[in-house]
């Protein structure tokens, strides 16, 4: 059997055994229930409170807003999950010495890294499919609304969580779990505020402010990927009408998405290199 596959399966099994999956599923189900109740109430009442003649627009705009708010939350949760599951994996096993009996077997160290990466990538894929799928289905059933470009949007959300997970894995191959966690959430915060600065800059048409946002996205592209995902899935009107955390005015270009993919691949390659050369 391929060593990468053995490690990937082990990683998957560990998440199940250590109740990470169960916890995520229970909390995820609670989230979906709250979300569904909210959608149910809003879908029933929004047309009654909106100005005469605008009911259907208000309905679809309001529902789209809530849908994106739901997806944004899931994006954040999947990013946090990506960081948390991978921050301790290499650091923890190096620290405890568990890794010693693994890498002295006839396997490459890169097999271990890739196996863990694939295991986490599989977990994140399932998590996002269940949660984001749950949100979309709930909205469809209760408000009969579908956002545009769902597949592209889901793909981008997945890319964002993968990028976060890979960066955490890379740092965890060199630093402690705590330092890794602190670093990736620090980077996320930086990209987040940079994204907001960019939004405002774009609103008041200040080019310098937009550059600040772009630079912060280059440092850590996660928030930019979300804004692209929001742009893909928002209703055509909301992009024109206003600004919210769940919509995008200043839209990251397709080039930024390519950049994010390269960013994650480089992080993965660095993880191979760091982990292969370090003393254990």
């Amino acid at each position: 059997m391929n060593p990468t596959f053995i490690i990937a399966r082990l990683t998957f099994r560990e998440a199940v055994r250590r109740r990470i999956v169960l916890t995520a599923l229970i909390l995820g189900a609670s989230f979906l229930i709250i979300f569904s109740i909210g959608i149910h109430l809003v879908a029933g009442q929004i047309s009654q409170v909106s100005p005469r003649g605008y009911a259907s627009i208000a309905q679809s705009e309001g529902i789209n807003f809530l849908l994106l708010a739901g997806l944004y939350t899931i994006t954040f949760l999947s990013v946090a999950m990506g960081a948390l599951i991978s921050a301790d994996t290499l650091a923890g096993e190096i620290n405890s010495g568990t890794i010693q009996s693994v890498v002295t077997k006839p396997v490459r160290r890169a097999d271990v890294v890739l196996g863990k990466w694939l295991g986490f990538a599989g977990l994140l894929a399932i998590y996002i499919l269940l949660m984001a799928g749950g949100v979309v289905i709930s909205v469809k059933l209760q408000a009969n609304y579908m956002a545009p470009n769902l597949i592209r949007g889901f793909g981008l959300i997945y890319l964002e969580s993968l990028t976060m997970m890979t960066v955490a894995l890379m740092l965890s191959s060199r630093f402690s779990a705590l330092a890794t966690g602190g670093a990736v959430f620090g980077l996320y915060g930086l990209a987040f505020i940079g994204g907001w600065v960019e939004q405002f800059g774009s609103f008041i048409q200040s080019q310098t402010t937009v550059y600040i946002g772009i630079i912060s996205s280059l440092i850590f592209p996660c928030e930019a990927i979300w804004r692209r995902a929001a742009y893909e899935m928002q209703s055509p009107l909301s992009g024109v009408l206003g600004m919210s955390p769940f919509s995008a005015i200043s839209v990251p270009s397709a080039l930024m998405i390519v950049y994010a993919i390269i960013y994650a691949l480089v992080a993965l390659a660095l993880t191979f290199s760091i982990f292969s050369h370090r003393d254990l």
């Binding site: 059997m1 060593p3 055994r17 250590r18 009996s101 890498v103 077997k105 003393d279 254990l280």
Partner: protein, 304 residues
């Protein structure tokens, strides 16, 4: 014949501190080799270098004829780390399956081997229990089983009896004897002298990451020994007569102690006493123990 382990001026420096100064040694295939030294002598660092867990700063080494880091050779090597921890949410069976798969074993040979090994280390009744519920001794046993999964040609055991009770220690000793019988080379890292003494063919004394001396333990039998005799009905003439085999004859009631040239004279002494009419209850040789040798070679100052 290629050596099981061959190192040439292997060196590892952490910062300003040379953990292993210059390790040069040769270990034959099929022998049980003891690696003995005070705490901090660089024993574990040496093993980690040999297993490519850490990269040597300089020097050369080979395992079973292949240079360090050769992946195919690792399929023929077993390793029990010191203070090891394993994925403790796995059951004993799953744990051995995982490591067997990493060795590239087929499901069929793995099944059979796991049954054998669990039986050997006495953990068959616990095969479906999670490792987290295991005692320290049970963990050591399962770790040992893990190191032998692939029927290795060379096994590294880093302090294999730490945390084991006397029964467990006996088990490890028996396993090592068994491995020797099968021609497996065992590299035993230990600070327990008695353990090295009863299991090893040769022992290297390590200090500051250098081999101070390599001793064949069989030759210890030829060295000067002292003997204690317990007998009743000893007369002064008999005591005088004993001095033809040694010096420093001392008598304390029914105990006689004396220094002899080697153990070969013990049967003669016994025959002599019996012929003279004494009732001999015990003739106990006290060989120069490894402990005395340890102090002689490495000094009493420990690692400093």
């Amino acid at each position: 014949m290629t050596f099981a382990i061959e190192t040439n001026q292997l060196r590892k420096v952490f910062g300003d501190n040379a953990a292993v100064k210059s390790l040069t040694l040769q270990v034959q295939q099929g022998e049980v080799f003891g690696f003995l030294g005070p705490n901090g002598a660089g024993k574990t660092t040496s093993i980690k270098m040999l297993l490519s867990l850490i990269a040597p700063t300089s020097g050369k080494a080979s395992l079973l004829g292949a240079s360090l880091g050769d992946r195919t050779v690792r399929a023929r090597i077993g390793f029990l780390p010191e203070h090891f921890r394993f994925h403790d949410w796995l059951s004993a069976d799953e744990f051995l399956t995982l490591h067997g798969q990493l060795y590239g074993m087929t499901p069929k040979e793995l099944r059979q081997r796991i049954n054998e090994l669990l039986e050997m280390v006495g953990l068959t009744p616990f095969r479906n229990k999670q490792l987290r519920t295991f005692s320290k001794g049970m963990m050591q046993r399962i770790g040992l089983a893990q190191a032998l999964l692939n029927k290795p040609d060379l096994v590294f055991l880093d302090e294999p009896t730490s945390g084991l009770d006397p029964v467990g220690r006996r088990l490890v000793r028996d396993i090592i004897h068994d491995l020797r019988r099968r021609g497996t080379c065992v590299f035993l890292n230990s600070h327990l002298l008695s353990e090295i003494e009863v299991t090893c063919d040769r022992v290297a004394f390590i200090k500051h990451g250098e081999v101070i001396r390599v001793v064949e333990l069989k030759t210890l039998e030829d060295v000067k020994a002292s003997v204690t005799i317990r007998a009743k009905g000893l007369t002064p003439e008999m005591i005088n007569g004993l001095s033809q085999w040694g010096q420093d004859v001392r008598v304390d009631d029914e105990h006689v102690s004396m220094a002899v040239a080697n153990e070969m004279v013990l049967p003669e002494i016994t025959r002599y006493l019996v012929a003279q009419g004494a009732d001999v209850f015990a003739v106990t040789p006290q060989r120069l123990s490894l402990e005395e040798l340890f102090i002689q070679v490495l000094g009493t100052d420990g690692s400093l």
